[in-house]
């Protein structure tokens, strides 16, 4: 530490000294710490809900180089939680908007956009130029990819993930620390754990979890404090409770254990049971009816029973005057339905109702169809006055 002070190296300008004054006057950061931040190179995977506080706080703190990986475009549904973006950014690439916002927050740092989908082909090369990776992605294949690439390169992975009103955070891939595969050797089957798009997320939650990731990233750079290594932090926003679970390095881990079987990146879509390039999970193959066909039948006053398998709070947003019977209640309430009538089941996008149709067909219903694309497609193709959500 003393030697570092006398070595010729980067210095802070007077503007930087003023900007980082509240860091510099703390002995835990000080000039040495601020120079470490200036020399640090952090790669953020995902510029979404978690990426927003990560990007904003790390840029504000003076992390010298911030890489951003994303390939998405800002849409209206992002604005409820992705505070990097404003309404006027809707339709723009996330990276262009984020770069602008972060550069305006701190023009003295380097923002490096990597506008690409992170894949097994580009991950190692991308990660090589960075010291720390912060994982704020929204899907299992990328989570495993980030983890494996970090372990193979020996770089820490500051992890955060969210679902509805629950969050998890930890640091994987620290020296002698556990990795994501030590915690979860395998991903859940596709469709079991819904994404934020399907399950919803409380807008402030990524703000809190992403801020925890930003904090741990700073501590990693500064080399101070007790790091969130070997501990899984759980946050329950509704109960307003933080809990901590012990996280151990698994000696049998195929990636970081004693007998490693994974020594290079693999096909993560395949590993997570997702076929093809599209990460959308195909529902069960069931008989379908398109919104236009259904409209034509209703216009002819055909006797069609519309079954809405969404939740009551979704019914309040918009509905097709259907009979509300949430998918989760179907097994014990199926007797409410008349199998002699023609039934069209629908949900928001067609995924849950496909499960409902499959379930009911197994229960003996024969005249039942799934509304293709759900109420979203109905709004698109038949009645634009029905709001999309």
């Amino acid at each position: 530490m003393v030697a570092a002070k006398t070595m010729p190296g980067p210095k802070l300008s007077n503007e930087e000294i003023l900007r980082y004054s509240r860091h510099l006057i703390m002995p835990e950061v000080g000039m040495d710490g601020q120079l470490k931040l200036k020399q640090a190179r952090v790669l953020l995977i995902g510029a979404g809900g978690l990426g927003a506080p990560l990007g904003l706080y790390l840029a504000a703190a003076g992390v010298g180089r911030l890489g951003l990986v994303d390939f998405d475009v800002v849409d209206f549904t992002n604005l409820q939680r992705q505070v990097t973006f404003g309404t006027s950014d809707v339709g723009r690439p996330k990276l262009a908007a984020a770069r602008e916002r972060l550069s305006s927050l701190n023009p003295g740092i380097e923002i490096v956009p990597h506008e690409a989908r992170l894949t097994s082909a580009n991950a190692l090369e991308l990660f090589r130029d960075y010291d720390i990776i912060a994982d704020g992605t929204d899907n299992f294949p990328t989570r495993y990819l980030v983890n494996d690439a970090c372990v193979l390169l020996g770089k820490p992975n500051v992890y955060g993930s969210i679902f509805r009103f629950e969050g998890q955070a930890t640091i994987f891939g620290a020296p002698d620390g556990p990795c994501y595969r030590c915690l979860y050797p395998e991903p859940p089957p596709p469709g079991l754990v819904p994404s934020c798009a399907d399950g919803g997320v409380l807008g402030v939650l990524p703000g809190i979890v992403g801020s925890i990731q930003a904090l741990e990233t700073l501590k990693l750079i500064l080399g101070s404090g007790d790091l969130l290594v070997g501990r899984l932090l759980l946050f329950d926003a509704l109960g307003m409770r933080f809990r901590e679970l012990k996280l151990r390095k698994n000696p049998d881990c195929p990636l970081c254990g004693e007998h490693r079987t994974i020594t290079s990146l693999i096909d993560y879509d395949e590993f997570c049971g997702i076929r093809g390039a599209d990460s959308a999970v195909p529902g069960p193959a069931v008989p379908e009816i398109t919104p236009r066909e259904l409209k034509a039948r209703l216009d002819r006053s055909d006797d069609v029973f519309i079954l809405d398998v969404r939740e009551p709070h979704e019914y309040q947003i918009c509905n097709l005057n259907g009979y509300l019977l949430p998918l989760g209640d179907l097994p014990r309430r199926a007797h409410e339905l008349d199998s002699s009538r023609e039934i069209v089941a629908h949900c928001r996008s067609g995924k849950r109702s496909a499960e409902a149709v499959e379930f009911l067909r197994k229960a003996g219903f024969r005249k039942i169809w799934n509304l293709k694309g759900g109420i979203l497609a109905w709004s698109e193709e038949v009645d634009p006055s029905v709001p999309k959500y």
Binding site: S161, I162, F163, Y184, P187, P188, V193, G199
Partner: protein, 91 residues
């Protein structure tokens, strides 16, 4: 021994939306057994067809992973909390 089983958000739809349930049990196996008897829909999410706990579901007794205790044979003391922690991936 009364033991509290915490049910995580993603699995609550299969458990009448409850966040925790209390059971009398001496081991983790007994507690999860009672849980999946009361909520039969939970069973396929927690166990494989061969009856093994699924690998994306971790079970903790208090703050310890049962994989590093005695797995499902882990003994439970009065007032212990069993937590089911599935992986989540939202960002």
């Amino acid at each position: 021994m009364p033991v509290k089983v915490m049910i995580p958000t993603p699995l609550r739809p299969y458990a009448s939306k409850q966040s925790s349930v209390a059971f009398e049990a001496r081991t983790v196996r007994e507690a999860l057994g009672s849980l999946t008897v009361q909520f039969s829909e939970l069973r396929k999410h927690l166990y494989t067809d061969e009856g093994k706990l699924r690998s994306f579901v971790n079970v903790y007794v208090n703050d310890d992973d049962i994989r590093y205790l005695q797995h499902e044979d882990t003994q439970i003391k009065d007032g212990d909390t069993i937590s089911i922690i599935p992986s989540i991936a939202g960002g």
